[in-house]
């Protein structure tokens, strides 16, 4: 009985693996595209090319800072997801070196604004701790 079933289960495993790979690849590319969108937004807002602030409206200044922080954090978050899946497809684990590299590339986007820099730093550290805690041991 098992002699007849073996090729089917092997094929099923192969198909499952292929489906997993396709899913991982799709996640890699979609996350990378999303990270790219946030990188462009970060260039526009954190590079001070676009601003929503006019006059001395404090609420707009707060909203502007929150938007800049969120853009950096989301760039880091999606890049981490994309890189994690990419590494999985290549069969290698994500190292601390990769995370630190992404962290630096994210945080330097806020170099023109001390407030955004401070809060982005806190946000990125929080995400790193979160990702570290949820990973399988």
């Amino acid at each position: 009985m098992s002699k007849f079933k073996k090729p089917d289960s092997k094929r099923k495993i192969e198909l499952d693996k292929k489906a997993d790979d396709i899913f991982a690849y799709k996640t890699t590319i979609i996350s990378a595209i999303l990270a790219g969108i946030f990188l462009i937004n970060s260039l526009l807002f954190n590079g001070n090319f676009v601003s929503i602030i006019y006059g001395d409206i404090l609420l707009l200044e707060i909203f502007d800072a929150i938007f800049k922080i969120m853009v950096i954090i989301l760039f880091f978050f999606f890049m981490t997801i994309s890189l994690g899946n990419y590494k999985e497809l290549t069969g290698k684990p994500v190292t601390w070196k990769d995370i630190v590299g992404l962290f630096i590339l994210s945080i330097i986007q806020s170099v023109l604004n001390a407030v955004v820099f401070g809060f982005s730093m806190i946000g990125l550290i929080f995400i790193i701790i979160y990702l570290y805690l949820i990973q399988e041991r």
């Binding site: 001070n48 994309s82 497809l89």
Partner: protein, 269 residues
């Protein structure tokens, strides 16, 4: 006898009080006007406004009124103040009826502080127009006595144009750095406010010849030093560098993903 002594004491006390109050009376009529000095190009102090060089163009005129008494409507004058690194410049222009005397003077009395009380005015720069020529003199004031300062610090010039009216123009340059000042000049220090009295008269006798006056307050601004590099260019360079690095690495990462897809397809086939 005792009563008499007491009366004398009272009279002495009252009279000394009156004298003291006279001494501390402001020498101008009305409250001092706050003027904001603006940094600009140094004008040529010659009594003429050179429009080709856009002299005095950086700042708007302030209307001031030289008054003989607090109830007087006053003589309207147009006033400008410009500052550069070492000098504070004043421009004063006013018109008089053609029947009036074409001679006269403008005196800038300088207080050693922002106080407008008489005893604090220690320096005077005076331009006197006489028979269409002008003279500039620097005076030292001690207890309302004007003494000619042997070292003339600053510059002044004046001109009268006789047309339908008498059009007077006065220009002054007051040093704000120690290089051009001596002990008998008020040192106009940066970031300090000083009171100035602008007085007008005909006969160059001081202070008796002063007819009308007004007071202004000006804070001497510290010149802004230019940074050794262009901050805007530095910021732009930083933004371009940061996002270029990010962009190049992101592009390389996308390229690696595309390569990976091909690799996966090759393995699967």
């Amino acid at each position: 006898m005792k009563k008499r002594n007491f009366k004398i004491l009272i009279i002495l006390f009252i009279s000394s009080g009156i004298l003291l109050s006279l001494w501390t009376l402001p020498i101008s009529n009305g409250a001092a006007t706050e003027i904001v000095s603006v940094f600009g190009e140094s004008p040529n102090i010659n009594g003429e406004i050179d429009t080709d060089l856009d002299e005095w163009e950086e700042v708007e005129f302030t209307k001031l009124y030289l008054k003989t008494s607090p109830t007087d409507s006053g003589l309207p004058i147009d006033f400008k103040a410009i500052q550069d690194k070492d000098h504070l410049y004043f421009l004063i222009q006013y018109n008089l009826e053609i029947e009036e005397d074409p001679n006269g003077f403008i005196a800038i009395l300088i207080s050693n502080s922002s106080s407008t009380q008489l005893e604090y005015f220690e320096d005077a720069k005076i331009v006197n127009i006489s028979t269409e020529n002008y003279s500039f003199n620097d005076y030292y004031i001690n207890k309302s006595i004007f003494s000619l300062d042997s070292n003339t610090d600053g510059k002044g010039a004046g001109m009268v144009i006789i047309g339908d009216e008498l059009e007077f123009t006065y220009e002054f340059s007051l040093p704000t750095s120690s290089s051009e000042s001596d002990d008998r000049d008020v040192m106009l220090e940066y970031n300090s406010e000083f009171a100035f009295n602008i007085s007008q008269g005909i006969d160059p006798l001081f202070p008796e010849g002063i007819r009308r006056s007004t007071q202004i307050l000006i804070e001497i601004q510290e010149p802004k030093t230019k940074p050794p590099f262009d901050i805007d260019a530095l910021v732009m360079g930083l933004v371009i560098s940061v996002f270029s690095i990010n962009g190049v690495l992101y592009g390389f990462y996308i390229y690696r993903i595309v390569l990976l897809k091909k690799k996966i397809k090759r393995i699967r086939s």
